[in-house]
Amino acid sequence: MSKDAGPGQPRVVLVDDHAMFRAGVRAEIGSGLDIVGEAASVAEAIAVIRHTAPDVVLLDVHLPDGGGPAVVAAVLPELPDTKFLALSVSDAAEDVITVIRAGARGYVTKTISGADLTDAIRRVADGDVVFSPRLAGFVLDAFRDGGGPGGAVTSTDPELDQLTPREQEVMRLLARGYSYREIGTELFISVKTVETHASNVLRKLQLSSRHQLTRWAADRRIV
């Protein structure tokens, strides 16, 4: 599924407060990617990212002096081309949503394999989004209030961008564990279209009202 990474390898900065974990990630993905910096805290991460201007920041959601969202919020206005991929041991809805809202373009958990992580970084560097099935499940959960499967999705918040039926279909297949390519085959659309749908969902997620997010997070505390 890995696409052409463009000229050269994506330049990556690792942000994680555990040195052991950074070393492990470096060993796993270092051969296929160009790791240009590491950081263990929010302040350090901001400094390193400013200095190196990487393509992708692999960002831990929980950091001692703040969190991944703080890094994204501080860096993104200055370096809008930097892509953030959240990498966390937590797949709780609140963590996922906070960092996606801040502007991250993907979210993977730390149980991911080295090959999958490399692939995810490449895709994020290309401008795609990376979803886990579980995150797709969160999305469906949030948007399905009052709507049956296959039926029109309604929301209690009229301001909210709504998922189109097609986007909902993509989410459902993603949550069922289909890859983008398999979804494309299933729905007779191209992989690029699947990725567009996924991107739209992510964008809508960022734009969703605070009310909806609060309720969502409260409803989905359970991992």
Binding site: G137, G148, R176, G177, I222, V223
Partner: protein, 401 residues
């Protein structure tokens, strides 16, 4: 208190010199006379008679009896008494007080006698109200309010009666000294109380703060001990097991996976069977994970309380998972469940070897009986999409009312 004292009046003295204990069994009033009789080795009736005679001489017997009543302890094993018993006691005490009051003018000891007596009774009631351990606490901390012992109705009655008696005694003294003096005395008391509060206030506050700090500290320590116990029982044991089976990757993965799930459940909650579909499905998936050393990614959208149809759905999903674990030759299987008002769907999907669903041996019961048949009995449907090399997806659905 190792040798129980006999409560018989004529009993032989035990070997140890006995401490004085008020007898609760077989007593008339407070058990003081019985205690003295036992201690001195004389008949109870004699002791009682002596008290009555002394009471005649300016109430000395009553004062003595009250003093003994306050000071002497009851035995621990005699602690249970019926409230009817208390009622009789207080009736007798009340009659005694009334008789004393009626004969007030005949008493020779002057105006201070009755008030003092009332105050003594009140104090005795309050003091007796506290149990032995509470009295200890009063002495040690003097921090609790007087309401310590008031855990039941009788306790409250006692406290109210005690306070009333004490106040009555004090007012009596003031009233005897003249109405104007009563006002002045009251003012004096208030001023004194205010002064005392000012002086001792900081000390009280500090005491309270220390107590709450101590309580918080204790709770924190208990929590720490709880976490340490849990880490010991689960994480450390698992790590030890992993060290011992380091050459068996599947076993290591299985141990790590189950440990991760357990910690996750402890940290974030969820996964604990609570009669809801999502938890039941997650529990079934966890069981298959542990049994077959594969990873099962569960995504559940929506939730619903369990019923017979969802039971069947969970059981069928479990069977589909087991099939995938056994035959698909994969390390991970994904499960997606979606619940809406009208129906529940589960998709169990693997990217394994796959097979041709039309060519299953008819003698095999796994799919036909455990999945399709089970759901058909609940008006549900099951279908399998698979082809060799393309993996398998089992689609399960039941209607919900």
């Amino acid at each position: 208190m190792t040798t129980p004292l006999s409560t018989e009046p004529s009993s032989v003295e035990p070997q140890q010199a006995p401490r004085l204990y008020r007898n609760v069994r077989g007593r008339v009033l407070g058990g003081v006379a019985g205690a003295l009789a036992d201690h001195l080795g004389v008949r109870r009736s004699l002791v009682r008679l002596a008290f009555v005679l002394l009471a005649g001489s300016a109430g000395l017997g009553v004062l003595l009896y009250g003093a003994f009543w306050i000071v002497l302890r009851t035995r621990a094993e005699d602690g249970t008494e019926s409230s009817a018993r208390y009622a009789v006691q207080y009736l007798i005490a009340a009659v005694a007080v009334v008789v004393l009051l009626i004969n007030l003018h005949t008493l020779p000891l002057g105006w201070w006698f009755v008030p003092s007596l009332l105050a003594c009774f009140g104090g005795a009631l309050l003091w007796r109200q506290a149990s032995e351990t509470e009295r200890e606490r009063w002495r040690r901390l003097s921090s609790s309010s007087l309401a310590v012992g008031a855990t039941d109705r009788i306790g409250w009655l006692r406290i109210i009666a005690g306070v009333t008696l004490v106040l009555a005694g004090a007012l009596f003294i003031l009233a005897r000294a003249g109405i104007s003096a009563a006002g002045a005395g009251l003012a004096a008391v208030l001023v004194t109380a205010g002064g005392l509060a000012l002086i001792t206030g900081p000390w009280w506050l500090k005491l309270m703060r220390d107590l709450s700090t101590e309580r918080r500290e204790r709770i924190r320590n208990e929590e720490r001990a709880d976490i340490a116990a849990h880490l010991h029982d689960s994480v450390l044991q698992t790590l030890a097991l992993i060290q011992r089976s380091a050459d068996q990757p599947r076993e290591v993965a299985r141990l790590a996976r189950s440990q991760e799930r357990e910690l996750r459940t402890k940290l974030y909650g969820g996964g604990v069977p609570n009669g809801q579909f999502a938890a039941a499905l997650q529990a079934a998936a966890a069981e298959v994970e542990d049994t077959y050393a594969i990873t099962v990614d569960v995504v559940v959208v929506g939730d619903h309380p369990m019923n017979a149809r969802l039971d069947a759905l969970v059981a069928a999903s479990r069977e589909a998972l087991v099939n995938a674990a056994k035959h698909a030759q994969v390390t991970s299987v994904s499960v997606y469940a979606e619940l809406a008002e009208d129906g529940a769907s589960v998709f169990v999907r693997d990217r394994g070897s796959g097979f041709d669903p039309d060519r299953i041996d008819p003698s095999r019961q796994g799919i036909r009986g455990s999945i399709v048949g089970r759901l058909q009995r609940q008006q549900g449907t099951a279908s399998i999409r698979s082809s060799p090399g393309q993996g398998t997806e089992v689609q399960l659905r039941v209607e919900l009312e």
